[in-house]
């Protein structure tokens, strides 16, 4: 990356920020089209900035571009769509593309786990809740954002700070950080990148040896949160109305309630 690449990145982020700002729901008068155009431009610019040094040489690189583009687009739609259901489904898209990116990084187990946990379980419950809470017309909270300008400013400044820094860290090779890492020499020997053991076995070994305590704690955490969620769900709320009168058993089915 040339020294100007960092600055170019800032420009791209600024463009993207304006785009996202325009895309965020703002009630009447949102400039969705302009936002989409700007955002698309920014995305394309980001890809092309990255592409100045990564040429598509094999399928891995191509897939990286494809899935990262999908992930970013999906993320933008998650935060800009006015319907929560769509947000959730776009998030499923993000999860799937992130899983694909993990596969590209030889983290197949994590990728599938991500899909199973997120897409399979978490998001379904989200959808469940969204659907239960859905009203006929989109409520104002979905059509309007809360201080979108400040939020976008803060978020994109942070993004620029982090990503720009990452972009500046290396000049030629993406492995600079890895090579500069002091831990490399001591820890790399643990699990070679391509060994005879598969990824699942490797992660199993890591979790069951070095991180065994953390793993147990994670299990306890899940248990606790499960208990907590059940307790929350069982809690009677003060605003809950008393149970409606039931139709006497003998009359069930005699009168069709008006739907």
């Amino acid at each position: 990356m040339t020294p100007t690449t960092g600055h170019l990145l800032y420009l791209v982020f600024a463009l993207g920020g304006v785009g996202v700002y325009l895309l965020l729901p703002k009630g009447r008068g949102s400039q969705v089209r302009a936002g989409a155009v700007l955002g698309g431009l920014a995305l394309a610019a980001l890809i092309s900035v990255l592409a100045t040094r990564i040429v598509v040489t094999n399928s891995t690189t191509a897939f990286f571009y494809v899935f990262s583009t999908i992930a970013m687009l999906g993320a933008v739609r998650v935060i800009t769509h006015t319907k929560p259901v769509y947000s959730a489904l776009y998030f499923v898209l993000v999860v799937i593309s992130v899983a694909a990116l993990l596969v590209l990084m030889q983290a197949e187990f994590l990728a599938i786990a991500l899909i199973m946990v997120y897409a399979g379980a978490i998001m379904v419950t989200y959808l469940f809740v969204i659907m239960l809470a859905q009203q006929d017309t989109a409520p104002v909270c979905d059509r309007r954002s809360h201080e979108p300008f400040l939020a976008v400013l803060a978020g994109f400044v942070l993004m620029a700070a982090v990503a720009g820094r990452c972009g500046d860290l290396t000049t030629a090779s993406g492995d600079t950080i890895a090579q500069a890492s002091p831990t490399k020499a001591t820890l790399v020997a643990n699990v070679p990148e391509s060994s005879d053991v598969g990824n699942t076995t490797a992660i199993g070994r890591a979790v069951m040896t070095r991180y065994i305590v953390a793993f147990e704690i994670a299990g306890v955490l899940l248990l606790v949160s499960m208990v907590g969620a059940i307790a929350l769900a069982k809690k009677k709320l003060p605003t809950e109305t008393v149970e409606e009168e039931r139709t006497p058993i003998g009359q069930i089915g005699r009168e069709v309630p008006p739907y």
Binding site: V20, L24, L46, L50, I54, T61, A71, M72, A75, V78, I79, T80, P84, S87, A88, F91, V94, L101, L102, M105, A107, L110, V117, Y118, I122, T125, V129, A133, P139, C141, D142, H146, E147, P148, A151, G155, F156, M159, V162, A163, G167, T170, S173, G174, D175, T183, K184, N199, I203, R205, A206, A214, A218, V224, S225, G228, L232, A233, L237, P238
Partner: protein, 100 residues
């Protein structure tokens, strides 16, 4: 081949997008979705470090991130349902009784 920088930039972008969503959207559920997007960014960076440092720690972290996300989602959804039952709306702005 994409290097660690590309993955980190992607991770930062996802994280920041989630952040923007969390900060600007008013629907409780969408806010939580945005935090999940942030989680995705973090998972990417963790796994990227794992790959480019050639060790499994990052992936183990990714696994724990999943655990945390699952726990958080369960509790958060329970609370969202409670909040919704109380006020009949998912608008986070009705929960501003701490206003100075």
């Amino acid at each position: 081949m994409p290097g660690i920088v590309e993955y980190l930039i992607l991770s930062a972008v996802l994280f920041a997008l989630g952040l923007v969503g969390f900060l600007s959207r008013r629907n409780l559920i969408v806010m939580f979705l945005s935090t999940e997007v942030m989680f995705q960014g973090v998972v990417i960076s963790a796994v990227a470090f794992a790959k480019f440092h050639r060790q499994m720690d990052g992936q183990a972290m990714g696994l724990f991130l999943l655990v945390i996300a699952a726990a958080e989602a369960g509790l958060a959804l329970g609370m969202v349902v409670m909040l919704y039952k109380r006020r009949g709306t998912l608008d986070v702005d009705v929960w501003s009784s701490m206003r100075g």
